[in-house]
């Protein structure tokens, strides 16, 4: 069964109520019992005093009659017979009066049957409990100093507990009736209090993926407010991410259309071209266009994968070593533009990264530097160890980027104005995303001799078991 706030609250509230009521009931019962006991004792003492005042004749008459304490108690209101606290059994009080020399003046004959006729008399006045004939009895002894009589009154103990249980049940009865009513009220109160949650869940369920404005359920209680706020926060983040996704898809589609247009145009030129050599040129350009689309698709896939935020397994690696590989891979392109590429700095510095992504990062930086660099110019790749960080810098001496465009350089699909090279404008945004992945910071500035572009990526240094 799933956890239910209503059920849990019901359980807690009703258990607490029953517990508190139980304690109250027990303490009332004990209190009542004590009071009844005191009262009974006082009454026995009273009867003893009356008996002490009676003369021999009256005592004998009384001894042979029965004293039913129930009549004594109820007195005038005998008609109003409340069965609750009525004693079910007759409450015969027995007595014995002795003279100054200990001789029995009068006594209830039943005492003989209970073998209590010759019980020794306690030396002082007071109450006493004892067992007679297998039953518990209360007794009260009164020594009348004036006449020298000793009066002893006996009463079965069960009569008193009957009275007490009557009091207890009188207290408990309304409680037992109240409990289900209370449970019902609590049930409905909880339901009513939880209603905003139901409204909220309805509002969220009705939400459509295209309609992500904040949830508004009117005056939400303070307990529900944080939940509504949290949901709205998630919704706004979701909206933001969906918008970004849509913009990205639109940009990507737009970017893909350009090489497709080129392929189509070139293919149509080839089809219409009667000259075989020119036809061949056009077909080669078709292939170039396909390569470009393929590269673009690869870059888009890479960005999409980087967006998933999956935790990549990283390992300590040397940026200089990765740079060496990237240099080799881009050597041909550099030679074509007669660009001199150098790698300097700390060859042993290590960072914590993933080798394939690190390779893509360096490849993109070098590819950009060669593409946008000056023909016959140079590119410097440097690895520098700093306090707690390792900085990787790729600098060129090409035309560089206008200061106004620097900040937008890592935006997806952004291509700086005036650039002639073919590209999608994704390279640096990929670099930025990879750097972000490894906790590195990206800085763009001017390149060699205040010319060209410098891209510096500052990684946290690997501080494992080096040195």
């Amino acid at each position: 069964m799933p956890a239910s706030i209503r059920r849990r609250l019901m359980l807690l509230i009703l258990t607490s109520i029953v517990l508190i009521w139980g304690i109250a009931l027990i303490s009332s019962y004990l209190q009542a019992k004590r009071e009844v006991s005191e009262w009974e004792e006082a009454r026995l003492a009273e009867i003893a005093q009356i008996l002490a005042l009676l003369d021999q004749r009256n005592l004998t008459t009384l001894a042979n009659a029965r004293i039913d304490l129930r009549e004594e108690e109820q007195g005038g209101e005998a008609g109003a017979n409340d069965s609750d606290d009525d004693d079910a059994l007759p409450r015969d009080a027995l007595f014995q009066v002795r003279g100054a020399n200990g001789e029995v003046l009068a006594g209830s004959p039943r005492l003989r049957a209970l073998q209590a006729w010759d019980l020794p008399v306690p030396p002082a006045s007071g109450a006493q409990n004892m067992t007679l004939g297998g039953e518990a009895w209360h007794t009260f002894t009164l020594r009348d100093t004036a006449l020298g009589h000793t009066v002893r009154v006996f009463e079965p103990a069960n009569t008193r507990s009957d009275l007490v249980s009557g009091v207890a049940s009188r207290i408990a009865r309304p409680t037992l009736v109240a409990l289900p009513v209370l449970a019902l009220l609590v049930w409905f109160s909880i339901g009513w209090s939880l209603a905003p949650l139901k409204v909220l869940s309805g509002a969220i369920r009705a939400r459509d993926i295209n309609r992500l404005e904040p949830v508004d359920i009117g005056r939400a209680p303070t307990e529900v407010r944080p939940l509504v706020d949290a949901i709205n926060l998630v919704l706004s983040r979701l909206q933001h991410s969906i918008e970004r996704e849509r913009a990205f898809t639109a940009d990507a589609a737009h970017e893909l259309k350009t090489p497709l247009a080129a392929i189509k145009v070139q293919a149509q030129v080839a089809l219409a071209e009667p000259d075989a050599a020119l036809q061949r040129v056009a077909m080669e350009r078709v292939v170039q266009g396909v390569d470009r689309s393929a590269r673009l698709a690869e870059q888009l896939l890479l960005l999409a994968r980087l967006d998933v935020h999956e935790k990549l397994s990283t390992a300590p690696l040397k940026p200089a070593a990765v740079a060496k590989d990237a240099l080799l891979a881009n050597e041909r392109n550099a030679q074509q533009k007669n660009i001199h590429v150098t790698l300097t700095g700390d060859m042993r510095a290590e960072i914590n990264a993933e080798p394939v992504l690190m390779g893509i990062l360096l490849d993109n930086l070098l590819d950009n530097a060669i593409k946008y660099g000056r023909r016959g110019g140079s590119i410097e790749v440097a690895v520098r160890r700093e306090v707690g960080r390792v900085q990787l810098t790729v600098r060129d001496d090409g035309p560089g980027v206008a200061p106004g465009d620097l900040a937008r350089l890592t935006n997806r699909f952004f291509r700086a104005t005036g650039n002639q090279a073919t590209g999608s404008g994704l390279g640096l945004s990929i670099v930025a995303r990879i750097a972000e992945h490894f906790g590195a910071s990206l800085h763009l500035g001017s390149g060699i001799g205040e010319q060209g572009l410098a891209v510096a990526v500052s990684f946290p240094a690997y501080t494992g078991d080096e040195d």
């Binding site: 259309k257 350009t258 080129a262 189509k264 070139q266 149509q268 700086a416 650039n419 002639q420 073919t422």
Partner: protein
């Protein structure tokens, strides 16, 4: 027919250039808005094919500048952003037609022809002049029912004169329509081509206007 192509993408640019050349146009290709605007200031083009996503000066700005300067050269706009808003924006900024990427090269050329035709005040593709039937799309000239073969230069001069009937065309104007930026202008070439045209199509078709150039009189 000299056309200015404004396109920043190398592959698309050279494709369109080749396609337009195949269709008999003389093409100048500007790779950014700045160069395009210089070209427009110095040369009279019959048509501009303009890509909107340009570096430096955006295609839209270029178009507005062109129209503000009072030039009514027909402009065909190319763009990858084919939304209605983009199209309406382009047309309102003064474009005459609109083509979304990726486009069909034959459609691009057909639209270019249609724009030229409309600019010349014709509603059908064929140009009829006396007993001459000229088909610009097929690049054919017929006298009666006989096809007359023309070289591309002769064709270009004939088209320039036929589409500007009654307006004398100077030698330099004719040269402009003949040669793109990369081509070397041959001296006396115009005279040679005109005399060839006269031989092929009849001496009376093209009249020499002394000290100015040549004209095909209004039909």
């Amino acid at each position: 027919m000299r056309v200015l192509l404004v396109e920043d993408d190398d592959l698309i640019g050279c494709g369109i250039e080749a396609g337009l050349r195949q269709a008999g146009f003389t093409v100048d290709w500007a790779r950014d808005g700045h160069k395009a605007s210089l070209a427009l200031d110095t040369t009279a083009y019959a048509l501009v094919v303009l890509d909107l996503g340009l570096p430096r000066v955006s295609g839209m700005d270029l178009l507005k500048r062109l129209r503000d300067a009072g030039k009514d050269v027909p402009v065909l706009v190319l763009t990858a952003r084919g939304t209605v808003v983009d199209r309406v924006g382009g047309l309102e900024a003064g474009a005459d037609d609109y083509l979304g990427k990726p486009f069909d090269l034959t459609e691009l050329i057909a639209r270019c022809r249609a724009l030229l035709r409309r600019a010349q005040g014709r509603s059908i593709e064929l140009i009829r002049y006396q007993d001459l039937t000229v088909n610009p799309a097929a690049q054919t000239v017929e006298i009666g029912n006989t096809r007359v073969p023309l070289t591309s230069r002769e064709w270009a001069i004939l088209m320039q004169l036929l589409t500007n009937q009654g307006i004398p065309q100077s030698r330099s104007r004719l040269e402009e329509s003949l040669y793109g930026w990369q081509e070397e202008i041959e001296s006396n070439a115009i005279e040679v081509h005109v005399s060839n045209l006269r031989k092929k199509l009849g001496a009376k078709l093209i009249r020499t206007v002394r000290n100015i150039g040549y004209v095909v009189e209004k039909a």
